[in-house]
């Protein structure tokens, strides 16, 4: 068994229904939020020279949204590349977006774009690191979401 397969087995054992996949820039806001969730999660690599992430089971994607107002550039390039892989794209079940209401209509825009393109629901939005309440709602929501999945 390769290290990657062992990791997959560990994830499957911990969370039979699905997992989280997330991206976080060097600012680490989304990473901090995912840490607080305490759920099995894999990170989309920041740098191109790292091996690309390939998922093996259904997942919910958590991504930051880049602010500014334009749809161009709202979704991080690394997330676009991850989703360009049809295998990865086929296993996405929902999306959660981090953002900032200061960006007005563009708050969490990356989440809406991905939901549209992949035909999955935008499950939740939170700001910056997320509050304790956001963490609790996502923990409960993710659990209930997987239970409802066929």
């Amino acid at each position: 068994m390769t290290a990657a397969q062992a990791q997959d087995a560990a994830f499957s054992a911990a969370q039979p229904d699905g997992e989280l996949v997330y991206f976080s820039t060097k600012s680490g806001n989304t990473h901090r939020f995912v840490e607080k969730l305490g759920l099995p999660a894999r990170r989309i690599p920041l740098n191109r020279d790292e091996p690309p992430l390939r998922v093996t089971q259904p997942y919910i994607l958590i991504t930051p949204s880049y602010g500014g107002g334009s749809t161009q550039g709202a979704v991080p390039k690394q997330v676009i590349h991850f989703l360009n892989d049809p295998h990865n794209r086929g296993l996405i079940r929902g999306v959660i977006a981090a953002g900032n209401t200061n960006f007005g209509t563009a708050y969490g825009l990356a989440g809406r774009i991905i939901a549209d393109k992949c035909g999955v629901p935008l499950l939740y939005r939170f700001e910056l690191l997320g509050t304790d309440e956001d963490v609790a709602r996502v923990q409960q929501g993710v659990d209930a979401f997987w239970k409802r999945q066929p």
Partner: protein, 330 residues
């Protein structure tokens, strides 16, 4: 290079000036934020403020005076940030690109400060504006907040300079920003609100970036120094908050909005702390801002697209979001 700073666990200063090479980055975040700030660039002339003249004339004299005072207070904060705050961060920069981003921030804050004067010259009587500037010079709570920030900018502590700067960008503006969002939610001064939204968008990027640089420097400090800075940061926030409550009462008591403005302060204080990488302080029971204000700030924000609780069914999959990023392959 100041050894005192490195001993305290803060970043060494750039010791000399070299020609800046944007094709050799030490930190990708510098270019990412530079691109975002420059693509967000705007000038007040692009907002048709004169369309608000009729609306302005429907406000009572008291409401007009409040609005001019609020904007004068915001002008002071933008002036501080442009003339003192952003320039004070430059010597602490870790990369030449970071210095360039602060130069952009300094200029944009000058644009913000200039915008309020555009609003004044379009909508207001000169005498009323002159009165408000006099008021700002004499208002004790406005002067106190200015002094609390300026003290940190002048002191020899690069980490606390960034803390003060993030609190200004992400917290202190919001007692003021509340009012144009309130007017907008009542279909008043809507063009002015559009201009303020551009300022609000800029401040989010400023607070995020300065907070990011703060976290980088803090991570290099000793655990003792980290704990001390965190404590100073929360102390400063509470000191600013106490003053902000008094400032808010002095402005908004007469129109009965103080309690809701305070919720907006709590909500934004939490975001300011998060920009520094710290946990939120105010519980959700005191951050429940009037949904119409949140909607004025960010349409649909109050719905929160909460699919989990069943309240977010408003978001329909397939609602077209015009997108085209050349990287997408599907």
């Amino acid at each position: 290079m100041t050894n005192a700073h490195t001993a305290q666990g803060t970043a060494p200063r750039l010791s000399r000036v070299d020609a800046i090479n944007w094709n050799r980055l030490q930190d990708d975040k510098d270019l990412e934020v530079w691109n975002r700030l420059t693509s967000n660039f705007w000038l007040p002339e692009k907002v048709p403020l004169s369309n608000d003249i009729q609306s302005w004339n429907t406000l009572t004299h008291q409401e007009q005076q409040l609005t001019i005072r609020v904007f004068t207070g915001l002008t002071l904060l933008d002036t501080i940030q442009s003339s003192v705050g952003a320039p004070a961060l430059m010597p602490d920069a870790r990369t030449p690109h970071e210095e360039a981003v602060y130069a952009n921030i300094a200029f944009m804050e000058a644009v913000h400060a200039r915008s309020y004067s555009s609003i004044f010259s379009t909508l207001c009587a000169t005498r009323d504006v002159d009165d408000a500037f006099r008021w700002s010079e004499e208002n004790p709570t406005l002067q106190a907040k200015s002094e609390l920030i300026l003290e940190r900018y002048r002191a020899d502590d690069p980490l606390m300079r960034k803390v003060a700067s993030v609190f200004l960008e992400s917290f202190l503006f919001y007692s003021g920003f509340y009012l144009p969002m309130y007017w907008s939610s009542h279909a008043k001064l809507t063009n002015t609100a559009d201009l303020i939204r551009l300022i609000i968008r800029d401040e989010a990027v400023h607070g995020y970036y300065i907070g990011y640089k703060f976290q980088q420097a803090l991570a290099e400090a000793t655990p003792e120094r980290q704990a001390a800075v965190k404590e100073y940061a929360y102390e400063l926030l509470l000191e600013l908050y106490d003053n902000e409550v008094k400032y808010t009462e002095s402005l908004y008591d007469e129109v009965g909005l103080t309690e809701d403005v305070k919720k907006f302060l709590h909500y934004n204080a939490n975001k300011a702390l998060m920009n520094l990488g710290f946990e939120a302080l105010f519980p959700s029971s005191v951050t429940d801002v009037d949904p119409t204000i949140l909607a004025a700030l960010s349409p649909n924000a109050d719905e929160n697209h909460d699919f989990f609780s069943g309240s977010g069914s408003s978001y329909v999959i397939g609602k077209a979001v015009a997108t085209e990023d050349e990287d997408w392959a599907f």
